[in-house]
């Protein structure tokens, strides 16, 4: 069962999805449900023996259409609604081993086009207010299947973090006539101390206000509201900078670096505001090779993050990583 329950104190929706308790949990590599079905082998989620990229409806979705009727009745204080929406899985490769950052640049270019296609297709469906593309990498994040993959949630509402970010951008635009993210990019490039990698069209940096030690933003240098606005050369540069950044993450401690990667852009193509500016946010949970940055009492209970490190120092560490040729 899944449903939306309104949090009246925070003014945001919570989604319940009780069936997800039974989802596949860390299967052995030879029983991976995301590998292609091999001749004579057990049937996996992907019927064919080979593919370039595959996108499919999540078997254990938090939202679906049509959504089931809510389990309980709501009231004026506690509104409830069906969890309408879509949850998709994007497989980056038929191979069980590997990662997003291990894809050749050509495949990253192709993947960006697949993301763009899903953004446009899902965003055009009735009732969809926000297409949210993301990847959770590593058991430290709670990944339950290791096959390289990302996810897409198509929400019937704009989630609160994105809404708050847009409100701040709208206020900045009203005050200055400029895009907030354009100004942030300009400031980071001028300062330079927090830059990690810079390409012709995209730049990655640990923002001045980072909440995690290695929190990194990957941003279009030109004002682009969404993936759908990128030119061919910008798509290629995004692939190059993305691969460079992910290589630095993995090279930092010579381990597969866990992260959450989320994409922020205009929620859907028909809902673009002047402050919508395409960017990726990475939230790596590690602060040392052995220690996690926990979202503990202050972060979870007060909403204020305590960062034990300086972004200028962490960015220098990532810049100094020697990339594999």
């Amino acid at each position: 069962m899944s449903e939306r329950r309104w949090h009246p104190m925070l003014g945001e929706w919570v989604i319940t999805a009780t069936h997800r308790q039974d989802r596949t949990f860390l299967p052995p590599a030879d029983y991976c449900p995301l590998c292609p079905t091999s001749p004579g082998g057990f049937p996996t989620e992907v019927p064919e023996a080979d593919y370039r990229f595959v996108v499919f409806d999540n078997k254990f979705p938090s939202m679906r259409s049509p959504a089931p009727v809510p389990e309980v009745e709501g009231n004026v204080l506690h509104p409830i609604a069906p969890a309408d929406g879509h949850c998709e899985v994007v497989l980056y490769t038929p191979r069980h081993e590997g990662s997003l950052g291990a894809l050749p640049i050509g495949d990253l270019v192709r993947l960006i086009r697949v993301w763009t296609d899903r953004y446009l297709e899902l965003g055009a469906r009735p009732g969809i207010a926000c297409v949210f593309i993301f990847e959770n990498r590593g058991e430290a994040i709670g990944v339950t299947i290791h096959h390289p993959h990302g996810q897409i949630y198509a929400f019937p509402f704009v989630p609160p973090k994105i809404e708050r970010e847009r409100d701040q951008a709208a206020a900045h635009f009203a005050r200055t006539g400029r895009c907030l993210m354009c100004d942030i990019v300009a400031d980071e490039r001028t300062d330079g101390r927090r830059l990690v990698v810079e390409g012709e069209h995209f730049v990655a940096f640990i923002p001045f206000f980072a909440r995690y030690p290695y929190e990194t933003y990957l941003v279009s240098k030109q004002h682009r509201a969404s993936l759908a606005d990128l030119t061919e050369s910008e798509v290629t540069d995004l692939a190059r900078v993305l691969k460079d950044l992910l290589g630095r993450f993995d090279g930092l401690w010579q381990i597969p670096f866990p992260y959450m990667m989320v994409m922020h852009q205009a929620p859907v193509r028909t809902d673009e505001a002047p402050g919508d500016h395409l960017h990726f946010e990475f939230y790596p949970p590690m602060r040392t090779p052995q220690k996690l940055k926990f979202l503990a009492g202050c972060e979870s209970g007060a909403g204020t993050y305590i960062n034990d490190t300086l972004p200028e120092v962490k960015a220098a560490e990532l810049r100094s990583v020697r990339l594999e040729p």
Binding site: V54, D117, K221, H223, E272
Partner: protein
């Protein structure tokens, strides 16, 4: 902190191509094949037209 520079485009959002244009451009690049799984879920295989594939960067 130094003073913010003007962004590459002066911080003024540029007009974007329409959603229709972007979708049409992608249709020239992508080959999609959607199948229905036994449990009713949708699955789409993505491939790329040969000319586009050959033009994609291969290094890395």
């Amino acid at each position: 902190m130094s003073e913010p520079l003007a962004a590459d485009n002066g911080g003024v959002p540029a007009p974007a191509p329409s959603g229709m244009d972007a979708a049409a451009a992608l249709s020239d690049l992508l080959v999609r094949r959607t199948v229905r799984l036994e449990d009713g879920r949708s699955l789409t295989y993505y491939d790329f037209v040969a000319a586009t594939d050959a033009a994609a960067p291969s290094e890395g």
